[in-house]
Amino acid sequence: MSGKASSSQSSVGLSGPGGLSHVYIQYPPLQCEISGSRGLFYDDGNKLLLSPTLDQVFSWKTMPFSPLVAPTSDTISEGPILSIRYSLDAKLIAIQRSNREIQFWHRETGETFSQSCRSESESILGFFWTDCPLCDIVFVKTSGLDLFAYNSESKSLHLVETRKLNVCWYAYTHESRLVLLASGMQCKTFNGFQLSSAGIIRLPRFEMAMAKPEANSKPVLAAEDIYIITVYGRIYCLQVDRVAMLLHSYRFYRDAVVQQGSLPIYSSRIAVSVVDNVLLVHQVDAKVIILYDIFADSRAPISAPLPLLLRGLRRFNSSASRSGREDIESSEANVVSGNETITYGDEWIFLVPDLICDVASKCLWKIHLDLEASSAIAASSSEMPSVLEFLQRRKLEANKAKQLCLAIVRTIILEHRPVPMVARAMDILVTNYSHSIKTGSYLKGIKSEKTSPSTVPHVSSPSAVAEVTASRVGALEKSVQHEFAAGVDSELFNRSSTLLSSDSEDNAISEPQKTNSSDIHFFYGKVDGENLMGAETSSTDVQPTSLQHQLLGPSNNALNANAPEQQEAQLTSPAISPDQMYSFIFAPIEEEMVGDPSYLVAIIIEFLHSANSEKVKVHPNLYVLTIQLLARYERYAELGLYVINKIVEPSKEVALQLLESGRQNIQTRKLGLDMLRQLSLHHDYVLFLVQDGYYLEALRYARKYKVNTVRPSLFLEAAFASNDSQHLAAVLRFFSDFIPGFQSTSDHNTYYRILNEMNSSIAA
């Protein structure tokens, strides 16, 4: 949930010069300091960070990213290392020793062999392992591509295929399986191959656009100016045009390359990362990042340029344990820490897709997207529905995105934004849900949550989970702080020595700063409150404990809050089901809303409209809520229309609510009765008929539909209450005739006596 991160962050936004941020790196980084290291290499095929020393190579797993991961090491022989990559099955290590030779290492046996160029005229530019069925490793040479297959028995490579081309330099990412080969004088003519598990696809040759600084000068495109990125499963190539100060984008199709438009750049040095399908363009000189969501045609940035934030750097650097996960963030942390962390230093190398390697300090950072912040910032500039769309496309922190969506929708409804706008928001959510149902991602998320909670099949890093947890605890506790006396605050403060509650300490600290709030901050504050409410209604075990826990002790709290959260965090899709729409949006809002319900009814109608057009089933409670709203303000005419036109779909819940609401309005009550009968809920129908005093009709109906579950005494009581001895006699007779053994029951005896008394009194 969004609570904590936002509050603490906005407080930084006020105090620190760095201001607000939508992208952050989390302290601590992965330290890869090895004595005698001879450089750092990144193997994107295996997502390994490699640091070779004289006779060893250390490797750190970067997926899932954890700063605590210990390196593994392999022994290699001495020699120059131009590049190093593990094979995809991690059995072999390939080391480029020179521009003519590549050496291979068998990790288990330690056997080696090498492969070198045949001809003198060519040299090896690089190589990569591939999962293409034809071959295992590809050498990129100035004369083209050599595709080799590895023979595990002979422990050697044999050439499968050669593609002859002139190559100046190349670009490859394992993620896209795409290799781009630059050629020509300006290096702007490209040949592309995709070597995927489906085979090799050759892309048509294409040229990249480059503006000329002067009439007859010809700038040369450098390898650093090309980025291959993968967004929403589509492959793009971004090309920096330094003259025009534009970032051209090209999208690759199977048989075409299409230029997709250009993004402006504001720095001579830029870098590109992709986090959760969001394109981050680092304007290195300006030290800011611009976010783009290139899903739609729009090339507008999601938000204004903002700096990268270093988050979680503790004041006490000595305790570098993982428990200090939050919260003292500062973009000027480098100054405070004395650590040599300088954002956008010259030593920063941006690794695809979302890592930053600081070569100087030997550490690796992972770039995170702060969904709360970016959506809040985006909300301030653009339309709310597009923010929702953006959030609905996020997969990495699906749960967070989902909670944010819920919070946004709640906010716009509570703020009584225009109905068409809210309608669009509803439409986005419902469409996305039905889409995710169709593609199965929604169900998959649920399933994986149930069946294999331990395996963590998808990408979300444990730190993200922990963070989400912390944030929710923070939100809960903070809100409780509002209610409790200041004494509790100090108590929290005292408890801060224990590790688990360190985040609540931070909350306590950030609280005072919260008071001098800005507009954006106000928005957050609102979200906080709502989140708490959502938590209350959703996970019932969180809500009561959080209160108790203020008194009992903190550790308990963190555990409790953890349990439901951990599960939710594993959702793979931020899609919101209609049931959740009801319980997290409509139900809480209904409690908060005061005054005329027509706005809320209008929103519900819009929601039903979207749900109907997407053929999504709606929770009956929503209908019940609609009826309650209409009945409360005595809009029975509309209520009748809704029921008759089946806008409110019939169900038992709805029928019972109609009967309940119909206490003041007989027509509504009749609608409820009719609905019961239509649904063939004979037992309830008979029961209500008796309750309303139509006991004879009830009997007839009961006889016709063989309802024998209603107690005879109810009918008898009703008949007795009507004070009509004939009716009472008829009812008695009915039961005597149709229920075997009725005459021996106490009911019969009682009412028989009563009947006799009645008759005798009449006679008298």
Binding site: P420, A602, I605, N612, A637, E638, N645, Y701
Partner: protein, 485 residues
């Protein structure tokens, strides 16, 4: 009881409204009479009718103070009583003719009730007008044109339906019979819509109501002359629906717009009537009948709005319906926004009607005391055009798709009238059907199962005693059709 005398034999129907609190002194009996039809009857006859009614009311009140006399069945006449407001009575005297048509008393009462409800909607209560001007000129000036317009209103309907429903036939007021058309007064006819369309409609309704900003406004949506949606209370829905069907639906509008000549003809028609009334006004003291209609330029003591006047609504270019009925001055071109009284809330509201093809939207906006009402209305209109036009297009499309021809919502081959008394909803076979069937065809046949609400009961006609139109036949129709539970 000289009513059965030969001299009045030609008068099929008499209709009067009188106030029991007035004219109780000897010699001031004429004060009681607020309206009498036909107006050319000598006062002595008028007074004798009213005297009889009054006598009966006083007599029956002894036994039943709450609900006095409902009906006198004489040998050749039926007197139908309706106490519209405390001590203000409407009495309709219907001649029993030789043919089989026996008027359904409840239906006749409903006619009276309908007139009165409409009067309330436009002018407020009779009592209030009387208190405004105790002399009674004001109320008479209002009642007479209103009643006459109402009677003509019915006449107007019929030529389009190909059946002759002529309340005002020369001097005579004839009631339509079941043969002519099927209708139950005091009910609305609903259009059946699919869930999808219904949601679309409700979405539009919400949008419309949001156009008026914070002020609570209501809406009524009709498709052709069937009700699609309402947010008004049942009473007001019925009134406004009745009025809309009479004056606002595309059918009534287009006939007014399409032919100017028709309008002329209408006005000459009314001047004929005017001449007729004038001819008799010699015998009528002026203070009793001040008819602005009859003397447009003359002794116009009161400004009387005549909302039921025919062919006064037309469709403006922007789609809104306009009329000059409410114009402040009789001759002025500026058309004021129509206003009505809501019975439920007793609020005065502006009436805005918008028409898009077969779709008629009626928006009822409160007459705000603070803001300039006219400005508010034009603001609302603008909002409606800006925000809702797309949605209206969609709704119209959806509804027309489900419409499919004149008689699509109708059970073919039968003639019927189905009344749901709980919801004040009726459903009749379309008027076009009416004349094609003979009585024999409708005998003792189960014609439909399961109306809207899902209430399952077979519908049958018990006897040849026919079907109810506004005012016909047997009293127990509802019981036959509504086997409750």
């Amino acid at each position: 009881m000289g009513l059965s005398s030969a001299s009045t034999a030609t008068e099929a129907i008499k209709l009067c409204i009188f106030d029991l609190r007035r004219g109780q002194q000897e010699g001031q009996e004429l004060d009681k009479i607020l309206f009498f039809f036909p107006a050319d009857l000598p006062f002595s006859t008028q007074l004798s009718v009213i005297g009889l009614s009054e006598g009966l009311i006083t007599f029956t009140r002894i036994f039943s103070p709450e609900a006095a006399c409902e009906l006198i069945e004489a040998e050749r006449h039926s007197h139908v009583f309706y106490e519209a407001e405390p001590d203000i009575w409407m009495v309709m005297i219907v001649e029993k003719n030789e043919s089989e048509a026996i008027w359904r008393i409840a239906a006749l009462q409903k006619v009276l009730k309908e007139v009165h409800s409409l009067f309330l909607m436009f002018h407020g209560s009779i009592r209030a007008l009387l208190e405004k001007e105790p002399a009674g000129g004001l109320i008479r000036a209002h009642l007479h044109p209103f009643m006459m317009d109402y009677l003509r209103a019915c006449q107007k309907w019929s030529p389009l339906d190909n059946c002759c429903w002529d309340f005002l036939f020369g001097k005579k007021l004839l009631l339509p019979s079941f043969r002519d058309c099927l209708k139950e007064c005091g009910t609305v006819q609903m259009l059946n819509v699919s869930r999808e369309a219904a949601i679309e409609v409700q979405s539009l309704v919400r949008l419309l109501e949001s156009c008026a900003g914070s002020s609570p406004c209501y809406s009524l949506i009709l498709f052709q002359d069937l009700l699609v949606s309402t947010t008004l209370s049942p009473v007001d829905t019925i009134n406004l629906f009745t009025y809309a069907v009479l004056r606002l639906t595309p059918r009534t509008i287009s006939s007014g717009v399409s032919s100017w000549s028709y309008l002329r003809k209408g006005s000459t028609g009314s001047s004929v009537t005017a001449g007729y009334t004038l001819a008799h006004s010699a015998s009528v003291p002026d203070q009793y009948y001040c008819l602005p209609d009859t003397s447009p330029s003359g002794d116009n003591n009161y400004h009387v709005v005549r909302p039921l006047k025919r062919d006064r609504w037309s469709k403006a270019k922007d789609g809104f319906l306009v009329t000059d009925i409410w114009s402040a001055e009789a001759g002025s071109s500026t058309s004021a926004t129509p206003t009505i009284w809501l019975q439920q809330t007793e609020e005065r509201m502006y009436l805005c009607a918008y028409q898009f093809r077969s779709l008629t939207l009626i928006l009822v906006v409160p007459v705000a005391s603070i803001l300039n009402g006219e400005q508010l209305v034009s603001l609302v209109k603008q909002q409606v055009l800006e925000n809702a036009s797309l949605k209206m297009l969609k709704v119209e499309e959806k509804l027309s798709k489900g419409w499919g021809g004149e008689n699509a919502y109708h059970v073919s081959g039968y003639r019927y009238l189905l009344v749901d008394v709980d919801r004040n909803v009726s459903r009749a076979s379309p008027p076009g059907k009416v004349t094609t069937l003979t009585k024999d065809q409708v005998l003792r046949t189960v014609i439909v199962k399961g109306p809207k609400v899902g209430r399952l009961f077979p519908l049958q006609f018990s006897i040849p005693k026919v079907v109810s139109l506004a005012c016909t036949t047997t009293a127990n129709v509802n019981e036959v059709w509504h086997k409750k539970f």
